[in-house]
Amino acid sequence: MPSLSIYAGGLQLNNPILLAAGILGTTGASLCRAARSGAGGVVTKSVGSLPREGHPGPTIVHVEGGLLNAMGLPNPSYKDFQDEIDAARASGVPVIASIFGSFAAEFAQIARSLKADAFELNLSCPHAEKYGSELGRYPDLVESVTGAVKAASNVPVWVKLTPNTADIVELGLAAQRGGADAIVAINTLKAMAIDIETGYPILGNRFGGLSGPAIKPVAVRCVYELAGRLEIPVIGVGGVSTWEDAVEMIMAGASAVQVGTALLRGYGVFEEITTGLSRYLERKSMTLEELCGLAGKEKLQ
């Protein structure tokens, strides 16, 4: 079997299939379970500087081809999260701490206080006031937040971008200028669903984020655009649920791939995807490096 190990975004990974932020990432135990199930690395739930309970329910709605969620960034604050990270790190795979804040110094403070293998800056959650994409839509804020975290920490810093923008490349370039070690694309698309019996928006927060297969073509496009223009690696996320999806995302230019909503099917997805990916590389006699960005190469076939 071809090797799936890869160096991406400043981390050495056994395989390029990672658990996405906010998916079964609240406890050290659930992160370990993802690692045991075959994830090459795990991203934690996003943590901020104060405890948050998140939005009232419903926090998810199943929609055609995907899932809407508005968890509202519930988290115990970074002050109460190091234990979970430590427990997760015992699994042996890199643990990337996802963090959020509403200004650069808040991000930096959290990064200074937590010990993790890397940080992922959530500049992209579409449904929490004063956080996420409310900052992440502005290139200058993306650059300054990234720069502040880089200055505050000595582990790789990944910047997770929002697709709710006219030009994701602008945001990626800003993160790169800020010193990011990798871009993570994409977070969810801002969306909503309405209950037709009563007119109530279904999500407690009315607005939420669309994830799952429905957004894969948008994610693939973002990764392709970013990989074509940036020098730093791009980590692809959005709607990946089969090995074919992972191959597509890597061809688009992703150095590694995160999986979120597909966990609805259970932890088995990691092995399904890594096995399929290995078999594919074997059949094609290709390495992971050769696959990466193939769609953007001039000469194909």
Binding site: I23, T26, T27, P58, I60, H62, Y200, I202, G260
Partner: protein, 256 residues
């Protein structure tokens, strides 16, 4: 896959803070399964089925109080049935638990009795006034009741009632109630843990197995989809009875 609209057919008061809501549809739940009940404009909360088309709710906070404010003719949104329910095994079974946790047990007992099982019950309440479903359990078979204040039945906690029973007589034990009550029973009956099914409670947000808020240490078991019914032997060395995570994900004490 969206919440199913359901009109409340009837509301019955079971105890001062406990009411049963009959819904307009039978979602064909297994006892022990639950449904996410959307009280529009307020919240969506998990509730066990207390019958094929009923839920029995204790008023403890905002969502449950808002549900109490709804009467027959008003509507809720339903997502379910969800999770893994109880599985009937053997011939003689014991239902044990207390408080509003007796709701799924009564539902299970009725199904078991119809299927020819021999059913006994051991139930605990704070006091006589908190008692619910007495008739339902007594119609199933031998029923032992304990009250914390001695106002009815055996004086003391449920575990005091254990002395009256030989647990080896039962092929399977079904447990549901406040966490400390369940933990008390499980930890006193370790040798029966492999035949004890416990219906447990954690803070659910997504109820779909993705958000991670209900995961149990140390295995990361997702209670919302792999539970809420779990074999007691898997609980023995877990966080159960020791701590639980709240809405923020931080650890706190167990209730009840």
């Amino acid at each position: 896959m969206r919440p199913i609209n359901s009109v409340i057919q009837e509301v019955r008061s079971e105890a001062p803070l406990i009411r049963t809501f009959r819904l307009d549809r039978n979602l064909d739940p297994a006892p022990g399964q639950y449904v996410m009940v959307w009280i529009r404009g307020v919240d969506e909360v998990p509730m066990s089925f207390s019958g094929p088309d009923t839920i029995t709710v204790q008023s403890v906070g905002e969502a449950s109080a808002a549900l109490f404010a709804l009467g027959a003719g008003r509507t809720v949104g339903l997502r379910g049935p969800l999770g893994n329910g109880f599985v009937l095994r053997g011939k003689r079974i014991l239902l044990t638990g207390g408080g509003v946790g007796t709701a799924p047990l009564a539902f299970l007992g009725e199904q078991a009795k119809r299927a020819g099982y021999e059913v006994a019950s051991l139930l605990g309440f704070r006091s006589r006034g908190d008692l619910i479903f007495r008739d339902r359990f007594e119609a199933l078979g031998d029923t032992i009741i304990t009250t914390d204040d001695g106002s009815l039945g055996i004086h003391g906690r449920v575990s005091s009632g254990l002395k009256e029973l030989n647990l080896y007589d039962y092929d399977q034990i079904y447990l549901c109630g406040p966490e400390m009550m369940m933990w008390d029973i499980i930890s006193r009956t370790r040798e029966h843990a492999e035949k004890t099914q416990a219906c447990i409670n954690r803070y659910f947000k997504c109820a779909a197995g993705v958000c991670g808020s209900c995961c149990l240490d140390p295995d990361g078991l997702r209670v919302c989809v792999e539970g809420p019914v779990i074999m007691a032997d898997r609980l023995l060395d877990s966080e159960f009875g020791r701590y639980r995570r709240g809405p923020t994900g931080s650890k706190g004490p167990c209730r009840g």
